[in-house]
């Protein structure tokens, strides 16, 4: 299986490490204990989607440029649909 790293080009998947579902967004956490929503934190830390089909996942090119990526992958066929830098993919996301 090949993953097209935006920096390094097509590289074998063995060079990468997978972290899992890229969906959850880190909730807001103010420095004091006000406004921190425990339910949102449980969802962020423990709830992961595990679909059959297209899935967005965090991968890191550990054996290469070490960039964190968001890889869109079909879990049934392992077809990689798209790869983008996590830096770009997560920028400007609203926290849940």
């Amino acid at each position: 299986m090949l993953i097209h790293c935006p920096f390094c080009g097509a590289r074998p998947s063995e060079e990468f490490a997978v972290l899992g579902d890229a969906g959850p967004k880190r909730p807001e956490a103010p420095g004091d204990d006000t406004g921190s929503d425990p339910e949102a934190w449980y969802d962020y830390v423990y709830l992961r989607d595990n679909p059959r089909g297209v899935h967005r996942e965090f991968w890191q090119h550990v054996g290469g440029c070490r960039a964190w990526l968001v890889v869109e992958r079909d879990t049934a066929t392992h077809e990689v649909r798209s790869v983008e830098l996590a830096r770009k993919a997560t920028a400007g996301r609203e926290a849940s």
Partner: protein, 985 residues
């Protein structure tokens, strides 16, 4: 004695003789022979005994699907069981042994199973060996394994070497028969990068087994011309003796190249096998088709073989399969085989065609019977006669012959197309499964796609290459096709000759007969997957290559369902067995994985260190003197550090350089404690949590400049912490102006610990003032040592002593360590290893691996006060969960045995005295232990419920696997210097 070498013909070198032995008996053959063809040429027919009934068995096929002719090849450490004689190329001095026969294949005691066969139906093992359960592992399994088996393996280390490699191409062509050759030629002319892989020693596929000309010339003349063009094309790579065994995600193919299996011993410079991973933009499967056996009584008698195998023997190896050969067919292809045998002068007895009508002009001199079937084959170790049934007249007729060739139709070899989960599709016309459309990555052409004439094969291959060229933006070239012969290929299914009286085998390798399938259905196993497992049809080395379609067709008939509804079992990789050595490649023994060595590795060896593996690292355990064991050496080293001074390699700790305007803010977010107030020139202990609130790692981080920090991690977590920081920076907070880089390998680092540490240190420093006031505990500085050598100095301590860590560029580590030994000599300096380091930190109550096991919280470790209340950080929200604050969570305490000499063991559980050991009464566990030469007692760090309220209490230590029950006393986890006077001295 039936087969013999023909006077001429075949692709063998008759000018050279190769000597070989089978079961110790000497024979001769020629280069170009397989073990199977050479044995047949020598009249050897009985090749082994069957799996369950120990029936005599001979050759059945001419290729990798062979279920009967399995031999043990070579010997000693190179012993290779279950080698298919049909794929073993003959070499001089080859030694082979038959399998599953004792004392010999001619007289096999196990053959008594044939008499017992009424008691050995499908599922016999499941029904018989059920009681008592205690016998399963110790009695039944060894018994069954000895009685019913394939070859024996060897336990000796493999003397051969293996390689792994990656290949890339535009088009991978699997199979170099007529379809594969023409496809590779067209693709080569289109300018594609082509790999043509074929499992035989020479390309040609079916052309090697046929005599019929292509156009005006012999089939191999055409092949040679194509090959000449392919061999000189710079964009084509030919892989012979290479089986493409699996199709994987992303159009990756696994292939096994047998580099040296045709030689007695691999030459010194060559591996035995290469495991290739072929990344192909497109692939074309041209694997051909496999002939099906016919199912009738005694169809396993030695001398009954596939028609295609007989044809290959005659045309490729110049061997007559027998002296009086009958052919039993349900289609037109059997006639061509008979014609080839007739042309080679092999005496034919009869052609028996199950169909009412065969081809009109068959060109055969022997008798041809229509609407006739073979009901039973007679003979023991060799076929003697057959009984045929003329279905038109309803007569049973005996017929003498010593060989019977059977042709039951053709199964496309489509296994690769199923490896990613697609099922094949039933086709009525050829009465076989065709590959399903599996997308543009892997197309199928030729006989593998169900095309049964050479002309159709050529056309399908060119059509596929045209599509592939379109996919890849190339223009498909013109390729001239040779004129192909007329090849009638009609077939009428014949699944099961019901007139049979004797055992009719569906699966030869597993001894599954026509009686077993109805039995499986009657007992409820009517799904094809269940029937397979109950009867074992389609298992073992041939994986049902021959038996699968016959078996499920019979299952369809028995259950009254159409074949497509019955479906097939799942074809998984590998197509043929792959030796584990090839998959491991060179990664065995010391090369199993890379070894990490400290820059002080050689220095430590010179000091006499005993090295041990710690993850990927080699680290010193202890530095024995004289006859000291590890325990004595550890005690001496600990006393040396506590009373004088010692030095220890700490280069393996993770070192991460952190720079940028937001570096302090970044540290604030990844550590649970605060970093905004740390001044330049200071170090601080940091505790890092996971987002779920548990402790991930700890270490010190020093501020080297306004925007420059150096973080240290534990050795084990260096990689994960680095990846975590990168994740935080790139995914969570991409707006932070921070860069991180691992500098673990760039710096060699030494800890200098003990009351005399400062005095030794002063002697190597160029000009830094390290008096207690100028350089107090947790000071950090960039400086120079030994006359200008750049160094980093940190006053931090793992042992609890007055201690420093000194880092220099990795290449200068040995100079630093030598200088410390030299200048420390008159203070009694000594190097200490991991055992002493561990004792020192346990004496001081510092948590390490045993305590930071991913299940402990800051509160558990007594570090709850470090959790900042003024900021957000990774793990903050979850570390405030109710359960984390629960009063009965086990927390870190110290532990001593009540009787001084008693040994503590990590992993033991703690109980309130008087309580019965049970999960409910469990009070905690022992995490780390050491013998403290300072306290002259074993000590331990443990986690205990309400531990901090129980200091001084007695506790029961429960260790049922080792010492049983004994008593201990709870104490503060800091055993040595609880007021930290030494640290600040």
């Amino acid at each position: 004695m039936s087969g013999y070498r023909l006077d001429s013909g075949g692709r063998i070198d008759r000018s050279r003789r190769l000597d070989f032995t089978f079961d110790g008996e000497a024979f001769g053959g020629h280069p170009g022979d397989t073990l199977a063809s050479a044995l047949t040429a020598n009249g050897v027919r009985l090749l082994g005994r069957s799996f369950k009934y120990h029936r005599p068995r001979g050759l059945l096929t001419d290729g990798p699907a062979e279920p009967n002719a399995l031999v043990e090849l070579r010997g000693g450490a190179r012993l290779e069981p279950n080698s298919r004689a049909t794929t073993v190329e003959l070499y001089d001095g080859l030694e082979a042994w038959s399998q599953n026969a004792w004392p010999s294949r001619n007289f096999d005691v196990g053959a008594v199973n044939q008499l017992l066969s009424p008691f050995l139906p499908a599922g016999f093992y499941y029904k018989t060996f059920m009681w008592p359960a205690a016998f399963w592992e110790r009695v039944y399994e060894p018994l069954i394994r000895r009685a019913a088996g394939l070859g024996r393996g060897t336990h000796a280390p493999d003397p051969d070497s293996y390689e792994k490699g990656n290949l890339h191409c535009d088009l991978l062509v699997v199979g170099a028969g007529p379809s594969g050759l023409i496809a590779a030629l067209a693709a080569a002319r289109a300018g594609l990068r082509v790999i043509l892989a074929d499992d035989q020693p020479e390309p040609g596929g079916q052309l090697l087994s046929r005599a019929t000309p292509l156009g005006e010339e012999g089939p191999l003349t055409w092949r040679d011309r194509v090959l000449a063009e392919l061999e000189t094309a710079p964009n084509v790579r030919l892989l012979s003796r290479t089986t493409v065994f699996g199709w994987y995600d992303g159009n990756l193919f696994g292939a096994l190249e047998r580099v040296a299996d045709h030689l007695p011993v691999p030459p010194e410079h060559l591996p035995r096998l290469i495991y290739w991973r072929i990344q192909a933009k497109r692939a074309l499967l041209c694997a051909g088709a496999e002939e099906r056996p016919l199912v009738f009584g005694g169809n396993d008698r030695p001398g009954v073989l596939l028609a295609s195998a007989g044809q290959t023997l005659v045309n490729r190896y110049g061997v007559a399969p027998g002296r009086k050969v009958a052919v039993f067919t349900n289609g037109d292809s059997g006639y061509q085989v008979a014609r080839d045998l007739q042309a080679a002068g092999v005496p034919l007895a009869c052609v028996i065609d199950a169909r009412a009508e065969g081809p009109a002009d068959h060109g055969l001199d022997c008798r041809v019977r229509q609407q006739t079937v073979v009901a039973d084959a007679k003979g023991g170790r060799s076929l003697k006669a057959i009984e045929i049934v003329d279905r038109g007249q309803g007569r049973r007729i005996p017929l003498e012959c010593d060989t019977l060739l059977m042709s039951g139709g053709w199964n496309p070899i489509l296994h690769l197309t199923c490896h990613r989960g697609t099922k094949p599709v039933w086709d009525e016309e050829i009465a076989a499964f065709l590959p399903a459309d599996v997308g543009t990555g892997l197309r199928v052409a030729g006989a593998a796609a169900g095309h049964m004439t050479t002309a159709a094969c050529f056309q399908s291959a060119l059509a596929a290459v045209t599509e592939i060229c379109e996919d890849l933006g190339r223009k498909a070239p013109e390729v001239a096709l040779p004129a192909c012969p007329e090849e009638p290929c009609a077939v009428a299914p014949l699944w099961w000759v019901k007139e049979a009286k004797g055992k009719a085998f569906v699966d030869f390798q597993n001894d599954v007969t026509t009686k077993d399938i109805p039995l499986a259905v009657a007992e409820g196993y009517s799904s094809v997957e269940l029937m397979k497992r109950y009867t074992t049809l389609g298992m073992a080395t041939d994986q049902g290559k021959l038996s699968n379609v016959n078996g499920l067709a019979i299952l369809a008939e028995v259950t009254g369902r159409p074949i497509p509804q019955v479906g097939t079992t799942t074809y998984r990789p590998a197509y043929t067995p792959v030796p584990l050595g090839a998959l491991a490649g060179p990664h065995v023994g010391a090369e199993y994985r890379p070894v990490r060595r400290s820059p002080l590795h050689r220095w430590m060896l010179r000091q006499g260190a005993e090295m041990i593996e710690a993850g990927a690292w080699m680290r010193p355990s202890h530095y024995p003197r004289g006859e000291e064991d590890w325990f004595a050496a550890m005690c001496r080293e600990v006393r040396g550090v506590r009373s004088r001074v010692g030095l220890c390699d700490v280069s393996t700790l993770g070192k991460i350089d952190i720079q940028g305007a937001d570096a302090a803010e970044f540290l604030n977010r990844v550590y649970c404690n605060g970093w905004k107030t740390l001044p330049v020139g200071k170090a601080r202990y940091g505790l890092m949590l996971r987002e779920d609130g548990f402790v991930m790692d700890d270490g010190t981080t020093s501020r080297l400049g306004e925007q420059h920090y150096l973080m240290t991690t534990t050795t084990a977590n260096a990689g994960p912490v680095m990846a975590h920081l990168e994740f935080c920076l790139q995914s969570l907070w991409p707006d932070l102006d921070v860069q991180v880089a691992s500098v673990t390998d760039q710096w060699g680092q030494v800890a200098l610990a003990g009351p005399q540490a400062r005095k030794v240190l002063q002697r190597i420093l160029d000009d830094l003032d390290v008096s207690n006031d100028a350089f107090p505990f947790l000071a950090a500085a960039e400086t120079t040592v030994l006359g200008g050598l750049p160094a980093r100095l940190f006053r931090i301590s793992f042992s609890g002593e007055l201690a420093y860590e000194i880092a220099v560029p990795a290449d200068y580590s040995e100079e630093l360590a030598d200088a410390l030994l030299r200048y420390g000599a008159d203070f009694g300096i000594l190097p200490y290893g991991g055992e002493a380091l561990s004792t020192l930190r346990i004496e001081k109550g510092h948590p390490a691996g045993g305590e930071l096991d991913g299940r402990t919280t800051a509160q558990d470790l007594g570090l709850g006060k470090m959790l900042s209340g003024k900021k957000d950080y990774i793990g903050r929200a979850m570390s405030r969960r109710e359960a984390f604050e629960a009063p009965d969570r086990p927390v870190l305490v110290g532990l001593k045995p009540l009787s001084r000499g008693a040994k503590l063991r990590a992993g033991a559980h703690l109980l309130t005295p008087g309580e019965t050991p049970a999960v409910e009464s469990d009070q905690g566990f022992v995490a780390s232990v050491a013998y403290s030469p300072i306290l002259e007692s074993w000590i331990g760090l443990a986690f205990l419920k309400r531990g901090r309220e129980r200091l001084g209490e007695e506790i029961t230590i429960y260790d049922p696997l080792r010492e049983g029950l004994y008593r201990g006393q709870i104490c503060d986890p800091v055993f040595v210097d609880p007021d930290h006077e030494r640290l600040h001295a």
